[in-house]
Amino acid sequence: MHGRGGQGAVTASRIIATAAYEEGKYSQAIPMYGTERRGAPLTAYVRIDKVRVRERELVHNPNYSLCFDPLIGLQQAVANDLKPGGKVLLNAPYAPEKSELAGDIEIATVDATSIALETLGRPITNTALLGAFSKATGVVSLESIEKAIKKYFPGRLGDMNIAAVRKSYEKVSPWVPAKNKVAPKIQVDLNVGGYGTLKDVSSWRVFYPEVNEEKCIGCKSCWIFCPEAALEWKANNKPAMIDRACKGCGVCANECPVKAIEMKRVAGA
């Protein structure tokens, strides 16, 4: 499972493990932590078996790959090392035929970001992909996923997430064989771990800040609160995004006292 810090991939892995156990199977959900921060790519792994799972290495050759982030889903790394005939389920606003991912694989897509925005009001795409996972793979039933979600999100939050699950169950595309068979030689390494503002995190953004200079009063609140030092201060006393450093978290827009910053969705994300 591929996602970013904040999208709930780790919780999704636990929901699948819980759902499988609801169905009488044993399961194991391993999250891969590094120096985690919101927006950083991360992976999680799930094993499901008839007997108690005891091996504990990471899953290196999965049957399924789930990708919670539309931009990570563009990278070949999410489709590498699958078992032959393996399946890749993408959160993507396009049909699976359009995916450039290569290999002896099948691809399905669902626009989980839109579903999450409609049902939860936030781009937390985990549950908005789980319904699609249930429908497209049959590994766990929709009913078990809903039961598991109620354990993790009680009350209204659970109902909202179940709405997301049901919608993605309906909307997922059929499986389509990948049109490309050979993976590109040059690939992006998903592991952008570690600290430091010198790292290029522009590929992490689902949203980017757009500054309305007429509304801006030049108070520098955005500049002070930006966790990545990703705003530069221009000569006209207005902020501007540093493309390489902004991960699209939206703290600047949230802090702006005059609402002069608007978070805009990146095209294709």
Binding site: S13, R14, A17, Y21, Q28, A29, P31, E55, R56, E57
Partner: protein
């Protein structure tokens, strides 16, 4: 009995609750932090009557607070990881010398990296505690409860550390059976503080005070003998647990896997043992008769068990997840010393791996099995100790 898919750290907290602990004093450190969160939730919910949760300002304090709590008769718990454990080093000696039956979870974090290896707990071998290493979330819950019974046994009266790998177990979610509270209550009676069990004390009501006119070596001898008693008591407690709850972990000291009929065995501790089991299955499928002995208790070391096992196998391959620079792996040394006086000489070869969280894969353990098998068949090892 109920079930829940939970992470290793939650299994620890649930085990503490089932053991009806009275005091937990903790300071958070990755990857132990979520234990403190689950414990504070248990405290806030009020579901464990009489439970005090204390935020300590550091590990030195957390250890001292639970030491005092144990001394006045409250079943207590603390937990830490890696550098936090090193910071606890000094008061840990006191807890053991005062013969206080504390239980502590050590969520392994290396000393050269945040990722897990066993260098943290291995570095505390001289502190006079019992050290148990566990493999999965169910084993954490069960062992946490059993650890209190072991620690509080009259023949032991020593603190017990339950060690398990950070991240890959502390944060991994697995199905866990939660025994019923009344069954655990029947298994683990309330903790009754004992008057001092140490001889020649100036005042029997004091803890860790002077030794009067007695032989200053006497407390050391008693401490040593109590630790050795672990071999008997651990086996008894685990057998009782197995009878009551239907889950066994070998004999408590070791958990053998496909050792019967094996030409050689390898050993592993903690999560690596689980991965090793998958490797053993594949080796047998390939016609290679290699068994696994999961070492659960490192301190005391399962001497009798290995002296027995060594009689029936051609070689033992020892996996160490820590390295004492300049002295190799501690499990390797214990194994060789254990077998030194035996009539039949069984070759022991060492493997060091998984340091600073380096992933140990099924193939790695298969290679270790194959290399050990070669030695069992009369071959020479490439080196007495090898890096994996």
């Amino acid at each position: 009995m109920s079930y829940e898919v939970m992470v290793g750290n939650k299994a620890t907290a649930v085990g503490c609750k089932l053991a009806r602990i009275k005091v937990a004093a903790v300071f958070p450190i990755t990857p132990q932090t979520t234990i403190t969160e689950y414990l504070s939730e248990i405290h806030a919910s009020g579901e464990l009557p009489g439970f005090e949760f204390i935020n300590a300002e550091g590990e030195l304090s957390s250890q001292v607070i639970v030491q005092a709590a144990e001394a006045v008769g409250a079943r207590s718990f603390t937990c830490t990881s890696g550098p936090g454990l090193l910071y606890m080093h000094h008061p840990m000696q006191e807890t053991a010398s005062k013969r206080l039956p504390l239980v502590m979870a050590v969520v392994h974090r290396g000393v050269k990296s945040m990722q897990p290896d066993h260098s943290d707990l291995m570095s505390q071998q001289w502190q006079g505690w019992l050290h148990i290493y566990v493999e999965n979330a169910q084993e954490i819950l069960d062992t946490t409860v059993m650890a209190y019974k072991i620690a509080e046994d009259k023949r032991i009266r020593l603190p017990v550390a339950v060690g398990y790998d950070g991240y890959v177990l502390s944060y991994t979610a697995e199905p866990v059976e939660i025994p019923a509270q009344e069954d655990v209550d029947a298994f683990l009676p309330p903790y009754k503080p004992m008057p001092s069990i140490l001889p020649d004390q100036v005042d029997p009501k004091t803890f860790g005070a002077g030794w009067g006119e007695g032989d200053p070596m006497k407390p050391w001898q008693m401490h040593h003998e109590a630790a050795l008693n672990g071999e008997t008591v651990i086996k008894e407690v685990f057998a009782e647990w197995g009878k009551k709850f239907g889950r066994t972990y070998g004999n408590g000291m070791i958990e053998p896997y496909r050792v019967e009929g094996a030409d050689c065995v390898i050993t592993a501790m903690g999560t690596i043992a689980g991965t090793a089991m998958a490797a053993i299955d594949r080796l047998w499928t390939d016609g290679k008769k290699v068994g696994l002995v999961k070492i659960r208790s490192f301190l005391p070391f399962p001497r009798k068990d290995f002296q027995e096992i060594a009689k029936g196998v051609g070689a033992i391959g020892v996996f160490d997840r820590s390295c004492q620079p300049g002295m190799w792996g501690p499990v390797y040394h214990q194994m060789r010393s254990t077998l030194y006086d035996e009539e039949k000489k069984t070759p022991v070869i060492g493997f060091i791996g998984g340091l600073s969280g380096k992933e140990v894969r099924v193939e790695d353990m298969m290679k270790i099995g194959e290399k050990t098998l070669k030695v069992a068949e009369g071959g020479k090892p490439e080196a007495p100790i090898q890096w994996v």
